[in-house]
């Protein structure tokens, strides 16, 4: 465990020394300040009612969450895809691994460090943005903490996938594959919504398969649900088929069985990454 924590600390220190944390922090603050100003303009618009402000703020909040989850997904892929591969290519791993450290400890240390960074960014950026929205519009989504947890989980899932690919593929290849799978899963989520709405089993099964194989879109929908106010949920349910294919809407929380699947998926992918890395000749 000590060796794992050493590598986790090294991973976070590297992100800090390479100014990744600084760059993300500055950009996030700029985005939060600008968007908060934009939100603060909503109640000042002509003839706008408080209900309309609440409606607009809730939907814009979902779009903001989408932007931050996108940044988190892309960022975690860009950081995780080279984490093992570039250490092997550069030779850094060749100096570290002959020390009394198991490859699994190195991998878990990287995972732990990156997962902490993802969670830290999701919590920090999300809470700042929600604070800005609340100050500008007096609106807060129904369960922001649960939503942020799902956004962080989405980033961790994609980071874990990129880490697995990093044990065998070059940083460029692993990163591209992870991102393609992320966007395919997003389209798969839209397919699932359409399949459910129009009761088409083939489309539905494709969507379910995609959501099981790459659970990022499933988790995104988990995040959306906790951002939707009750009146939006009620209105959308009345709309029936009209809501089909809307990737920014979820009318139900993720079932417990799916959350269990996500945990099992993470355990399996981490296990596969360990197995792959342990068997690789360096």
């Amino acid at each position: 465990m000590r060796q794992t924590l050493t590598i986790a600390r090294l991973t976070i220190l590297e992100a800090s020394r390479r100014k990744l944390l600084l760059a993300l922090g500055v950009l996030t603050i700029v985005v939060v300040v600008l968007t908060s100003w934009g939100f603060s303009r909503l109640p000042t618009m002509k003839d706008v009612t408080p209900a309309e402000v609440r409606l607009a703020a809730s939907q814009l909040t979902i779009l903001m969450a989408f932007m931050f989850s996108g940044v988190l997904a892309l960022g975690s892929t860009l950081v995780a895809a080279p984490s093992i591969a570039s250490d092997i290519e550069s030779g850094i791993a060749l100096a570290i691994l002959p020390r009394p450290i198991r490859r699994g400890q190195l991998l878990m240390g990287k995972w732990l460090g990156l997962a902490l960074l993802v969670a830290l960014y999701a919590a920090g950026s999300g809470l700042l943005e929600l604070l800005g929205i609340w100050l500008g519009t007096n609106y807060l989504p129904p369960n922001p903490i649960a939503s942020l947890a799902f956004v962080a989980a989405e980033g961790i899932v994609l980071m874990t996938l990129a880490l697995l690919l990093s044990t065998r593929l070059s940083p460029m290849t692993g990163g591209v594959i992870a991102l393609v799978l992320f966007f395919v899963a997003w389209i798969g989520g839209i397919a699932l919504a359409i399949g459910i709405t129009f009761d088409n089993d083939t489309i539905k099964n494709i969507g379910i398969g995609s959501r099981l194989l790459i659970p990022t879109d499933g988790l995104w929908h988990g995040a959306i649900f906790y951002l939707e106010p009750s009146e939006i949920l009620a209105a959308a349910r009345v709309a029936g088929r009209a809501r089909a294919g809307n990737p920014f809407f979820a009318d139900a929380p993720l079932p417990g069985i799916y959350l269990a699947w996500v945990v099992a998926w993470l355990v399996a992918v981490i296990g596969l990454a360990n197995w792959s890395f342990a068997r690789r000749d360096l």
């Binding site: 000590r2 060796q3 050493t6 090294l10 590297e14 020394r17 390479r18 550069s90 030779g91 850094i92 060749l94 100096a95 570290i96 691994l97 002959p98 020390r99 009394p100 450290i101 198991r102 068997r279 000749d281 360096l282």
Partner: protein, 308 residues
């Protein structure tokens, strides 16, 4: 050899083999490295030298055979605390200071924290980086990074240090320094496994060596055993008919280069007898020169003997 016997050695391998797909990188490596000796591991490019070192430190998995390092099967986690390794492809975290890199390796070696400072200062002094200890590694030249790598390998007073081309990026002064460091290591009882194709370097500091080609050992022994204990003699001769020349092969391994005949493996006390025989056969002797074979000569000859 049993594992118990292997414990008395720094390294022992028995038919160690490694394949990458269809490519045979190492085929049946059998060798022993004694404690507190400098062991040279020579071979041309692609002979399997780096593969052998990677197998010994657990970076690659053997496809056949067995190996022991400091008495434990290769890859043993606890034994790695007593190992130092400088990889051929050396690179350290550029965003860290040299002192921090050494600190990281102290930590990974599970060294007691109270010993870090002393060990780090000692390593920095030995490799001549004391005045750059607080500089970031990204500003280091390749030679300085190699010095840092050597410092990393020396941390914790290891019982065995494996150096894979340790002077490839160093200037003559740096190479001299490395030779001195290796001498200091053996003086304190550390075995050094030196993987190099710089033959003059190996010749100067190695007690024993193995020559590998196409993934297997083609010669092993002390320097004098490899070079040939009896040396060689060159004789300049004219007027000697071809059959008589061939008959002189009984004096040693004969190389006929026209006027010059070279006899390998000829004991010095047989040289007068050789000259008498040449004269008796009608030859005229103009010069008799003892030939001191260099490691490079012998190395090239060994490789030539392996050619189909």
């Amino acid at each position: 050899m049993q594992a118990a016997d292997a414990a008395s050695l720094a390294v022992h391998t028995q038919d160690l083999a490694k394949r990458y797909g269809k490519t045979v990188a190492l085929s049946g490596l059998t060798m022993s490295v004694r404690r507190a000796e400098v062991f040279g591991f020579l071979g041309p490019n692609g002979a399997g030298k780096t593969t052998a070192v990677k197998l010994l430190v657990g970076l690659a998995l053997p496809t056949a055979g067995e190996g022991w390092v400091l008495g434990a099967p290769i890859g043993d986690l606890q034994t790695r605390r007593r190992l130092g390794y400088l990889p051929e492809l050396f690179r350290y975290q550029g965003w860290m200071k040299a002192r921090e890199v050494l600190g990281l390796h102290c930590e990974l070696s599970r060294m007691a924290r109270s010993e870090w400072k002393k060990e780090i200062e000692l390593a920095l002094d030995m490799v001549g980086l004391a005045d750059r200890a607080d500089d970031r590694v990204e500003g280091f030249s390749k030679g300085m990074q190699q010095r840092l790598g050597l410092g990393v390998a020396l941390l914790g007073r290891p019982e065995l240090v494996l150096l894979d081309e340790p002077t490839s990026a160093l200037d003559p002064v740096g190479r001299h320094d490395v030779r001195e460091i290796i001498r200091q290591l053996t003086a304190r009882g550390t075995a050094v496994f030196l993987n190099s194709h710089l033959l003059s370097e190996v010749e100067q500091i190695c007690d024993r060596l193995a020559v590998v080609d196409h993934g297997r050992v083609i010669a092993t022994g002390t320097m004098s055993q490899i070079l040939g204990q009896d040396g060689a003699v060159r004789v300049r001769v004219t007027g000697l008919p071809a059959p008589s020349r061939a008959a002189l092969g009984e004096f040693g391994n004969l190389e006929d280069e026209g006027e010059w005949l070279t006899f390998r493996g000829l004991p010095p006390d047989r040289v007068p007898q050789l000259v008498s025989e040449i004269v008796r056969q009608g030859g005229r002797v103009y010069a008799v020169e003892p030939r001191h074979e260099t490691l490079e000569d012998r190395f090239l000859q060994l490789l030539k003997e392996q050619e189909p």
